[in-house]
Symmetry: C3
Subunit: 153 residues, 3 copies
Amino acid sequence: MEIEKRLEILKIKLPPCPEPAAVYVPAVLSEQFIFVAGQTPKNGKELLYKGKVGRDLSTEDGYEAAKICILRAISAIKYYVGDLDKIEGIVKLTGYVNCCEDFEKHSLVINGASELLEKIFGEKGKHARVAIGTNSLPGNAAVEIELIGKIKK
Amino acid sequence: MEIEKRLEILKIKLPPCPEPAAVYVPAVLSEQFIFVAGQTPKNGKELLYKGKVGRDLSTEDGYEAAKICILRAISAIKYYVGDLDKIEGIVKLTGYVNCCEDFEKHSLVINGASELLEKIFGEKGKHARVAIGTNSLPGNAAVEIELIGKIKK
Amino acid sequence: MEIEKRLEILKIKLPPCPEPAAVYVPAVLSEQFIFVAGQTPKNGKELLYKGKVGRDLSTEDGYEAAKICILRAISAIKYYVGDLDKIEGIVKLTGYVNCCEDFEKHSLVINGASELLEKIFGEKGKHARVAIGTNSLPGNAAVEIELIGKIKK
């Protein structure tokens, strides 16, 4: 229960496994990889961060939004594999930032997710990353994050 | 020939394997995964749905466009693995919607692909999904969809 | 040293392994796959191609930018696996083009990366591809490219 203890020390409470907003599943476990569906910064079905980062929301707001997305992704993994200690590593994170065409600080926004992954999983939390902007996200979400993880055999 | 029969019942005729629009291949089979290149709503080389969903095209148009993209992706898988019954499952779908910055209904558009996957493949068609907006797609395509599938050993 | 010889013949000098612009790693090797983080057209920390392709930069500029991105991705793979001959194949490339909403020539831009992969790796360089537009990229980079490769056992 190493990771659960780490969550306790960090005073992080995982949300329940996210319910998909449409006809798909929160994650698929295939071979040793788990592919987590794109997560937006929701509490249950309510979007907590809406709008364009850099115009409607600050970069700091985006950072906080990214933290919520990644906790939902971790919750989805837990739902599928049962025990977070079964995570061998975080493989890849893709972060989409809803923003205007002159926004340049995508990295600072997605750091909200990346830094939390490293806090929780340590070395195992180190991942390859893609951060890009987009002119819009479902429901006007500020951030969307998808994840590939590796599970122990 | 379970899946072929299902296609017949659904009165779905797969298009021929899509020809790439540039210097790449329609799909790559690697280990047990098949990675399908991004598909746009084409008939042969002709784009059937062009423009921004929500401005030039309705959400329903986008939904129809997504259906065409996914049939092309399935056709690419068939070309590479021969028999659609060899598909163990659909792993992940990423859907890009060409739209304006105030568009919010990406999920409804990409449902065109997700619902068709489930109609054709049943439980095996359930996938993790990412739906995002983009300000532009190649050739002004309305939708682009990429897919990862899992193939039986 | 087949691939190194090919690089020599092509007069291509790989850049050093890219340093991540934020809290992540350049690539993750997992099972037989290597997932390379999104690469922008940098020389060290300096972005060589900034702005929107089709407005601030020509399609040809975008093509050149894509070449730099892919060399950085190859350099990251080399750093992690040591010997480029260990690459069994390039699996998937995703290319994001920073552009305006009326841009349509994403394929021509990302061909800069795809054609170079095929020049260097031959048949093994043939990959599934996704090319999309985006309204913005980190630091106003013109292009961003991510890669999945397959490594020999």
